[in-house]
Symmetry: D2
Subunit: 489 residues, 4 copies
């Protein structure tokens, strides 16, 4: 009988430099545990269908259980695995392992399994980040900051209200991942090279063993599609936008000019010569790396765009881009969350804002709702009031007390009087915010309610994630138990 | 009383070149009908809360009902609208229109309404494209083509099976749009500039009037977030990938060398000097434009990435990018669908493939499952058979008939015999495909079932879309009825 | 004799919806004058080689001289032009126009001619922007602002020094365009469809008539390459980076917190209710649109990446992307230049910075160079000095006067004494900057020299551009004269 | 005297996780040798200006000569280097090393030095690739292949002519790198943190020691600009486009359907079961990775776009993107060049194309130039001839012999006769190509001239590169000699 070293023969022929150039082994490390599970599930299915004897099944499972990726050069993990199996078990036993499967369906399956895990890690980081936001919002529940449009001060807002805008955006991305994971968690196994196989395999059993919720029905779709990767990257981009904008804010807030926030020493780069200087390095790096998911998408798109069906090796290059995109946001979420927890916010804005113009719009609305002045007119009245206060160099509050009646009469012909107390209340940021009536608005009296609402959302999200994790775990434990049963014999 | 021309005063001051440079009017045309509805709903809500008299409400609604965008220069539609209202109705009436709203929440609301409509149009095009795929698959239900990996012939597949891989990918994108539209269809109105308003407005009523399913709770989130735009663009990218890959295939298939398909004269560019030449221009343009959604995403990301909260004018530039992304895929889906319907596929591949090597893998699996040869060995046996057939210059089928036994004995030591009839069946593409056992596999006997399955999916998708549309329509008709009630008095 | 309506026949066959979908006419408007010149030059060359009679040459040139693009539907300008020529002149005369040329070489030629003009316009805008920088630098030649690293105040710099960093960057991009225009300004004409033609045409004469400096030698390269477009876009990206960063600075500088600069009323969007608020809308739009060249590049790359040689229709979609990229930077340069000219910079930083820590590093260097303290030690000394001043709540200057000797002795064991006058000079921003010794450094005494240097550079750049323009103009005037000679007969 | 451990103190404070997150050490390995040279040149300059004694200079240079990066955690190489220097030499000696320099100017300088080397390596690969093209063109100098437009056969071309189109494109990119390297090779040293230094340093001497051609004059420009990186990446993108398009061609050419080329066994992935199948894996990987420079650009742009001056840590993340872009094209050029050298092209196209329609356009031109038929008419005549040959199922050549006269008479009313020999010559690809008259056209008789021309270009490019390299080498050897002089004392 001839000695058969299928993959060995191939490797002798292929130029080593070529093998090195095209090898996916560096990236395969990350999916190696999934590749082993796939092989286990497949061997069990082959055994169930009578293609492999019990004895051989035991041998192969034992081999798989102890296999470690070596540093040898090879095209990929699949070739290396079979080569080692043949070396160790002989071709008679190992030769059946690949009956009814192909590298094409295996690699798609392994990427989906690893992506599933990575998405779960991302979702856990989102939850943890949202916890931080709530914690910070509670800590600074009454703190007022200026709110901006066009980076110009517009009106006072609550810091907690500002932070909740990030919370809500993150919740939407959490939901996206819940939806994506459903599409990711479908098994390509049984699609073989591109169209299924004549081997009698129950795709559902294999899918179940591997923690999937179902199968990718069409074989060409199974091996050629990477939409699940692209949409995962796209959601990482959405996370990146939140992270980058928040980092931009932290950097601006920690300038000497804005002084909203003081960075913790241990998370900044200080200068020995200027101890007051705390470079916001964590936020700078988060901001810079926020572009990585985007460039993963650009490359992935460019790679996939020109590919006729079915599998082309180009697809191999998409995988590392996927991990870069998600790992970047996981790390950035973790570090930003850590940083947020240590930020010390300035708490004396209330007084400063009482003197300025940021409550002008509240005054205009007040004149409209309480004093019966048409809104566009009350708007004009307050506008002139601001002007006058600037011309005379007096505070807006003083101007309101002294000039409002006169200006209002000029515009409306009517006598409008506001008491000093009334004006004081309207121009006091917190009091003014208390007048906000719209649902979800920035009213200090409603913040407790708003925070409770978000705590409820976190709770719901946490349950959803737990369910996803436990379903996968349960399914994988079936595989583990089955394998143990064989191996321990 | 003073004459107040709020926005007019502003415009006299702003340099006309500046106004032109920053104006969004060109892009506002697309959202103008939504802006009018928003104003109607808002005025009704103000009336309900007692801020506007019935008479004034009637006047304003009549004005809105007949308003048309003019060609005058202005910053945006919101300013132009109020300016015209004041001109026409006087400040006393028109001056209350903007009580409790801002350009920030209005523009976010209008974009969401137009996006909702555009997403629905995209989903309709997907459905129509999937209809085409089913129609084409039924028309060519038994047609065999070579399946490829690495652009090298791998094994025969059914054309309909190949087409269904696109179907399934499109279904996933349809599902994505269903999920996205839920997040899009939430109302920012009532968020005002960034934090809500002291005006007593029921955000739920306004949202209902405008066809929304709920409200974007946080005001800063309402006016600063564009994640709904970015995720819509991202799904357009996924559609683009399908369209580009299919176009690439059509272009390759219609080369003189591949000759899979003949293009319809009326959808190709022919050359008067070479009538046999039909340039696949539709597919070339679809392929080229498939990159437009990606560049929309790149620009959108770059724009949003650096923006601290809340509204910055930069966001205005995201909107046209969003329309470009979706309009491109809508047009490309429509034209490609039209083209697909007219393609004439070659139908004589079955014979050609019977002679070649594309069924070699089937033979290996057959030896493994029916003749008890270990798979890696049967693989080697067939490998040598292919080699020998090439060396001797005989067809693979002939080689199998003459040499298989001998080679098999060399590798296994056993006597393996396949009858000519057996070999003929295995190497006949259609017969070979009939042996495929795995669920969802490319087995001609199962195609009817697979097609039925997809017809069921189309049905389900169509119902989902109908429901979305009818819910919006019903809500909008409430607004229309209410407005009519006032206007007709 | 048969009537021949070559392109007419084609159009009847092609579906109108298809023609509309693939038509480049909208974009062809921009290159129409170049297409006409190309036809003129080509016809003249055909006449010189004896392929067209004098009489016919006159007729065709007259036709070309008066041709206007119509609104009819057609694939492109080339078809429309020949169709009209045949209609007007009859096939006997018009039928020779396209001897020896193809749409492929014509379109590549016309794009290069229009790109040449557009690059020149871009370079003119750069020059004009650099003029503005010099004007502004002279106006504020002594003005001090804080210089930043990590958005933290680092040390005082001169505003003019800051502005010159943009100047130098723009000069490099100017140089890039000079280099690019050399590669752009080569003629593809004579390459015909892809490989040249059997018609005896002197490519050099045609190139000369059209203002080119030479020919693109290889025909496949001529019709398939778009590297000249991609590198033009890439340089627009570099311009965009300067524009975006400068806009970012203007936006930050005009915040209430930084107050470096006051925007001119007529170039900001003011709010009627908060007159102090000036939204920096021009800079916001410039910043947003700075991403357009990048997305042009992404799309162009994705389009070209998959194209085998030679011409594919996909290339048609690159052209509008090229114009978008360059038009965007031309407009943004113009508007930003206009804005810069009107900025009013704050001029009272000198005093503010005298009290703070921004000159701390100067003090450390002083101790090192004048008082013989090892640099790392002097660094530590000043570090402790800053610390102490903060702890004691005294100004850095006061701390230096009171504590420096003591701290220096602690670190060095030596007696180090600085007079109050010495300290005052070191901690005075302008005095401190005067100590800067390195070439090109921010020394107020050297600013005149630095400005002169840049004026010289502008002069040199202006001459280079003049030369480029006049060479093209001279060549084109030859064509014009030649055409006039024929037409006027 | 106090013990001073400046950087050590800092590190104790900074959280290790933070340091790890922001550390650039992984990427600093690549620039470490340049950082050491920078320190040497700087120390020598300090010595020349009298800031460091000869003895200390010797000690520091010896330390630098033997320094190796350790695996310890640190922010970056600059901190690590000074920390080690202080440990080893004591603060008294090591403390002067950083007098007059900053991490900001050092890192910009080191990146420029490494980029200079990497650009040179890229240019060497381009030259070597162009050598391969010439070698291959000579080997197949007479080989005819079909030329394509829209992937439809258009006319015969010479393989060598096709290859030269890549040659010319590569020459343009070579020229770009020559231009870029001039801008890269300017020294930021002496700019210190952002504005120069009070230390008397001759920037020109330091620049010279480090192989630069001049200095980056403005300090803010020096430390904040990364245009040199972006334009290098942009040129890598242009290289990538050539590489991707060529790979696309090789993949298509090696399909069973096109069969233009046979891949070498050792550079393909063969399948043991289908030995005829040779997966073009090298070209697939090159094609996929061609998108890497683009995504480097997208990320770099996004990072830089939002940064106010001067240095922000974000810039650190640009550096690895730059190396990825260039390393990818260097590797891909090398592997593709290797592959090209082993390709075996099919040589029997001449006969096949004689029978088909690819010479139809030559016939039309022939009728126009030799038989006096107006071109649009001769075009129509040949068009009908092609049609008829298809209808009758006879070869184009046979149709020309039998039907041309008749059709020509129908269109022109004249008697036109072509001999069989004449027709045979026109429809023979090689003979037809010989009729091409335009300069640079695909005429077999001119190929030797065209090849010589390109050999001349290679020669010129090689000299340019040699000059660049030798200038740098000479300058660096001055530094080396100077250092040796001190160290060996």
């Amino acid at each position: 009988m001839l000695s058969i070293q299928v993959t060995g023969k191939r490797l002798k022929k292929q130029n080593r430099e070529v093998t090195k150039f095209i090898s996916s082994l560096a990236s395969d490390k990350r999916i190696s545990k999934h590749v082993l599970m796939i092989n286990m599930a497949h061997v069990l299915a082959l055994h169930k269908s009578g293609y492999i004897s019990k004895e051989d099944t035991v041998s192969i499972l034992r081999f798989l259980n102890s296999f470690k990726l070596s540093d040898e050069l090879d095209e990929d993990i699949h070739y290396m695995l079979e080569r080692h199996a043949i070396d160790k078990l002989g071709i008679k036993v190992a030769g059946q392992m690949n009956l009814g499967k192909s590298r094409n369906d295996q690699v798609a399956t392994a990427i989906r399994m690893e992506l599933r895990d990575t998405l779960i890690r991302t979702m856990e980081q989102i939850l943890s980040f949202q916890d931080t936001i709530i914690r910070l919002s509670r800590k600074y529940v009454g703190t007022i900051i200026p709110g901006y449009t066009h980076m110009q001060r517009a009106q006072p807002v609550l810091l907690s209200y500002h932070l909740l805008s990030y919370f809500d955006s993150l919740s939407r991305t959490f939901d996206r991942f819940v939806e994506i994971i459903k599409r990711v968690n479908m098994s390509p196994m049984g699609s073989a090279a591109l169209a299924g196989t004549t081997i009698g395999l129950d795709r559902r059993i294999i899918a179940d063993f591997l923690g999937f919720e179902g199968i990718v029905r069409n074989g060409i779709d199974s091996v050629s599609s990477r939409d699940f990767a692209v949409e995962s990257i796209a959601s990482a981009i959405l996370l990146s936008l939140d992270l980058s904008r928040l980092s931009e804010e932290i950097i601006i807030w920690s300038t000497e000019e804005f002084r909203f926030v003081e960075l913790p020493d241990e998370m900044a780069a200080t200068s020995s010569i200027m101890p007051q200087k705390k470079n916001p390095v964590v936020s700078e790096i988060v901001r810079a790396r926020s572009s990585f998911p985007l460039s993963s998408l650009v490359s992935s798109f460019s790679i996939i765009k020109c590919l006729p069906y079915s599998y082309n090796l180009d697809l191999q290059e998409v995988t590392p881009l996927l991990w870069t995109a998600l790992d970047t946001v996981i790390d950035s979420l973790r570090m930003t969350s850590k940083l947020m927890d240590e930020l010390r916010f300035r708490q004396d804005f209330e007084k400063e804002l009482s003197e300025g113009y940021t409550c002008a719009a509240f005054l205009a609305e007040y004149l409209s709702t309480k004093k019966g002045i048409n809104f566009r007119v009350s708007h004009a009245v307050v506008g002139e009031l601001v002007s006058k206060s600037q011309q005379r160099g007096i505070s807006f509050r003083k101007a309101a007390e002294e000039l409002l009646s006169e200006i209002a009469r000029k515009y409306t012909g009517k006598r409008i009087i506001l008491s000093g107390k009334e004006i004081g209340r309207i121009l006091n940021p917190k009091e003014a915010l208390r007048m906000i009536k719209t649902e979800g608005g920035c009213n200090p009296d409603k913040m407790e309610y708003e925070l409770k609402l978000r705590e409820g959302i976190i709770e719901k999200q946490r349950k959803t994630l737990s369910l996803i994790k436990s379903r996968i775990k349960t399914k994988l434990s079936h595989l583990e138990r089955e394998v143990s049963g064989f191996v321990s014999e």
